[in-house]
């Protein structure tokens, strides 16, 4: 288990480095940062002075090395717009986004795993069909449209929940649903498929032949084996959700990382954008690592593979 962890950790670090390099260069590919910063009315001299001031005149690799070295120490530079350390701003906003992501994930799993299990126990039954309908709708509906629909009904017509802001837990309900619903279909279908396969496995018959209670057979013997792909999927989807939270946070005006990213793009705030993309990527990598560890813990065969 320990060697497995070390090996996975090594891979994770390599992936993080690659991502950071891509992140860094992608921002240069989108145009000359000095021109973007200087604004429309700037003269050639203004642009040149901005370029030397921020060090954009140096070779890209040197800039990257410099940036990475500082980033490793937690220094992502100053925000061009807010004139504050980037790390500080991100640190303030990160908990909100994580909270949103976690709530959305919990919502998605609490909805999809039981529905998937029920659908697998009674394939082609009413509950299976209902679950399928939910899945198809979830897959087909754009999250921004769903978010607006939620807002309209729960916020404006029925006045049950606040529409914008991130001050209380009630603010998180609609965004979590909007964001979490997005990953529900895949998780549910995967749970169903996994359970269907596992329930017909020989070891389930063995468990039943031992006289174990149906609940024990279902949850101890079946779900543990069926859930493995769902965990991997959840980690991947959580990454997509962090990206999706840019849309959702903007719609609900939640003061999180996604909202900050959107603001930063509009303000051409390069250091901020770089840092956000990097932080989100590292989070994504950590989650995948966590999912791998969880799977290894659940399935002893993975530990040796």
């Amino acid at each position: 288990m320990f060697t497995y962890l070390l090996r996975r950790l090594g891979v994770a670090v390599l992936v993080a480095l690659t991502v950071s390099l891509i992140t860094f260069s992608m921002i240069y590919l989108s145009g000359d940062p000095a021109v973007a910063l200087a604004g429309e009315a700037a003269t050639e001299e203004d642009i040149e002075s901005i370029r030397t001031y921020y060090g954009y005149d140096r070779p890209i690799l040197v800039q990257y090395g410099d940036w990475l070295f500082k980033a490793l120490q937690g220094d992502f530079g100053q925000s061009h717009y807010l004139k504050q350390p980037v790390a500080l701003v991100i640190f303030e906003r990160l908990p909100t986004t994580m909270m949103l992501g976690l709530c959305a994930l919990v919502f998605a799993l609490v909805l999809s795993i039981p529905l998937g299990v029920l659908a697998a126990i009674r394939p082609n039954s009413l509950i299976d069909r209902t679950a399928l309908t939910i899945a198809v709708i979830g897959q087909a509906m754009p999250s921004f449209w769903f978010a607006l629909t939620l807002m309209l009904w729960l916020g404006i017509i029925w006045r049950l929940l606040p529409i914008t802001g991130s001050d209380s837990w009630a603010n998180f309900v609609m965004p979590s649903i909007a964001l979490g619903y997005y990953i529900t279909p895949a998780a549910m279908r995967l749970t169903r498929a996994g359970m269907l396969e596992v329930l017909s496995a020989d070891y389930i018959r063995t468990a039943r032949a031992k006289g174990l209670r149906p609940v024990t057979v279902l949850f101890k013997h079946a779900l543990r084996n069926a859930i493995l792909p769902v965990i991997s999927l959840a980690a991947v989807q959580f990454g997509f959700m962090l990206g999706g939270s840019i849309v959702i946070e903007t719609i609900f005006a939640i003061n999180g990382l996604g909202f900050l990213a959107w603001e930063s793009i509009q303000r051409a705030d390069l250091p901020m954008m770089q840092a956000i993309v990097l932080v989100l990527s590292v989070f994504y990598i950590l989650l995948t690592l966590l999912a791998d560890m969880l799977n290894a813990w659940l399935d002893p065969r993975i530990r040796v593979a």
Binding site: A201, Y203, T206
Partner: protein
């Protein structure tokens, strides 16, 4: 010694709906098992022997329906109890060993966990007691360093070892009856004999009833007390192992025995027997003898009406044929 009846089966049938009609893989099967006795159910693939055992355990696939006139395990009428009470019996008073040791153990749990689960479920013992019994039984089934094995996972054991674990598992609660469904089919030939000897030995030691389901007549000849030969969902001949092997009556049994060479008896280079034709489809009703199409004795009488399991050459011997056993002897 007066024999004590452990299992009585009468009129056991299984029906499975299929798109092309109702399938009857098990039809009106009846037999009994005494304490300390090994009853072998033999027959080729698809003759319904595995479904018979699953029907006794009430572990049939969801779509399949079971019906029986009598299904009694040591004074418990299994037709009259609900699923909850049935699960109290399963693994406790009646346990099962499956054909596929490679996939019959849950990959996610240790051997120890899976062995002790049964006794803990049936309230027979606590954790430490169950562990002690697991170690003791693992040693009994010939697994060395048993205490360490408890911490191992199924994927760390070979097929032969896994089947030994399955046998130990079947014995954990000290059942009255063990059903072994082709326990050696998936194993290496060299391991097959070992496992079989082990089963026979344990059965004698624990004095349980054993139903051995197999298509391997060599296996049967070595360990069975009584034999039931199944063909196309029915028992066609039933009797003591000695009777079946020395003077088989039913044409199908005789055909089966002709297929295996006997050392010293079968001439070197001679052709072994084979049974012409294929097993009939069991979808829909089938009047008359199921074997008639492939039988060289068959006459018009065979297919016109159902053929019952009639008296054979001795009290415990029964044959399903329109001809009398005497007529059938060569």
């Amino acid at each position: 010694m007066a024999s004590e009846r452990i299992l009585e089966v009468e009129g056991l049938s299984v029906a499975i709906p299929t798109p092309s009609g109702m399938l009857h893989p098990v039809q009106n099967v009846g037999f009994h098992v005494d304490r300390g006795e090994t009853v072998a159910i033999v027959g080729e693939s698809g003759c319904g022997k595995s479904l018979t055992s699953l029907a006794i355990m009430d572990l049939l696939p969801l779509r399949a329906t079971r019906s029986a006139d009598r299904l009694v395990l040591d004074n418990t009428d299994m037709l009259r109890i609900g699923e909850r009470q049935m699960s109290d019996i399963r693994g406790n008073r009646m346990s099962m060993i499956f054909q596929e040791p490679m996939t019959s153990l849950n990959p996610a749990y240790t051997i120890g966990d899976q062995l002790t689960e049964g006794p803990r479920r049936h309230g027979q013992s606590g954790m430490s007691e169950a562990r002690d019994r697991a170690v003791w039984l693992l040693e009994k089934v010939g697994i060395t360093a048993a205490a360490n094995r408890l911490r191992q996972y199924p994927h760390q054991l070979s097929g032969g070892l896994r089947q030994r674990v399955m046998i130990a598992m079947a014995l954990m609660c000290g059942p009255d009856l063990i059903i072994a469904d082709e326990p050696t089919t998936a194993l290496d030939v060299t391991i097959q004999a070992q496992i079989l000897h082990l089963l026979a030995e344990l059965q004698r030691e624990f004095h349980t009833g054993l139903i051995l389901i197999t298509h391997d007549l060599g296996v049967v000849a070595r360990v069975a007390d009584r034999v039931a030969v199944m063909y196309a969902g029915q028992i066609v001949e039933e009797g003591s192992a000695h009777r079946i092997f020395t003077t088989p009556s039913h044409p199908y049994t005789r055909g089966l025995l002709d297929c295996i060479p006997i050392p010293g008896k079968t001439a070197r280079g001679s052709h072994l027997g084979s049974i012409p034709g294929i097993v009939p489809s069991l979808i829909g009703e089938m009047p008359g003898c199921h074997f008639a199409e492939r039988c060289r004795h068959a006459t018009g009488r065979c297919t016109s009406r159902p053929v019952d399991l009639g008296d054979g050459l001795e009290p415990d011997h029964r044959v399903r044929c329109v001809f009398s056993p005497e007529e059938l002897q060569p």
